[in-house]
């Protein structure tokens, strides 16, 4: 039986910190640009979880509005980023980050 203490905002914030850390480490260790993008999504989700946790803790709607904007920015980022990945793939035929070491196309 789990010691069912009341779940305080600290629990959520610690979980968000762990999620952010996993995303950051994944961004550093992976080479596939698609997986790196997914790690960025993990970090954005950790930030969203933090916003919602504070919104709940402070009973303030502002945090949820910010999450809304974060989602929009994430959607825009994914659209542009995946277009860039497709454009890179057309030139290079693979999307490993180690190969992208020159600014020319």
């Amino acid at each position: 039986m789990i010691a069912v203490a009341s779940v305080t905002p600290t629990y959520y914030l610690t979980l968000a910190a762990a999620l952010f850390t996993i995303g950051a480490v994944g961004l550093l260790v992976r080479r596939n640009t698609l997986v790196m993008f997914m790690c960025i999504e993990l970090m954005l989700n950790a930030a969203n979880l933090t916003f919602v946790s504070y919104s709940h803790a402070l009973n303030d709607i502002g945090g949820q509005v910010i999450v809304f904007f974060t989602l929009v920015v994430a959607a825009a980022e994914v659209a542009v980023g995946l277009a860039i990945i497709v454009a890179i793939f057309r030139r290079r035929h693979h999307v490993t980050a180690d190969d992208l070491n020159a600014l020319e196309g």
Binding site: I2, V7, L28, L34, V35, C39, V52, S53, L58, V65
Partner: protein
Amino acid sequence: MTAVIFYICAVAVITGALGVVLAHNPVHSALFLLVTLVSVAILFLQQDAALVAIIQIVVYASAIVVLFVFVIALLGVDQHETFDEPSLIQRPAAIALGALLLIQIVVLAGRHWATGEHSVRGPLSAPRSGNVHQLAVSLFTDYVWAFEITAVLLVIAVVGGVALARRSGQRPSRPSGASTPGAAPEPADARPRSGGAS
């Protein structure tokens, strides 16, 4: 009950996140990302964020993950990624930096979480109107300028995505039905470039 749900979702979140990082196949990474996103949506629901949870499911778990899977299907699974690092120091350094980041966030900020004024922008849900109503009121009064900027941002992003995807497509007609499943994607627009890197 809330604690049980929290622990289940927390385990799912961490498992999915680790799966994204550790899975060799990008498709598996995308599916693990889906696990994480849905679990985070449940955690949103736990914290009276109903609309945000639904948007998380619709936008993230549907649109963005499907976009990822679609791009993976378009490009083919990348087999070039090697998991043995060229430099020995990078992976331990990354993990050490990650641990340092976690310790910083949890220990240094752990003593003084949520402080501040309550309900500055309004409460989460009013007695006679729910969370969606409160969110909409706040979004279209306090944050209406940011909301309009968001619309501009989305238009720019979509136009930019289309421009990036179409830039090298100067040949108007490409062979239709060329993409057979399983075959490598047709490099229709790859121009031979001399001397790529270094």
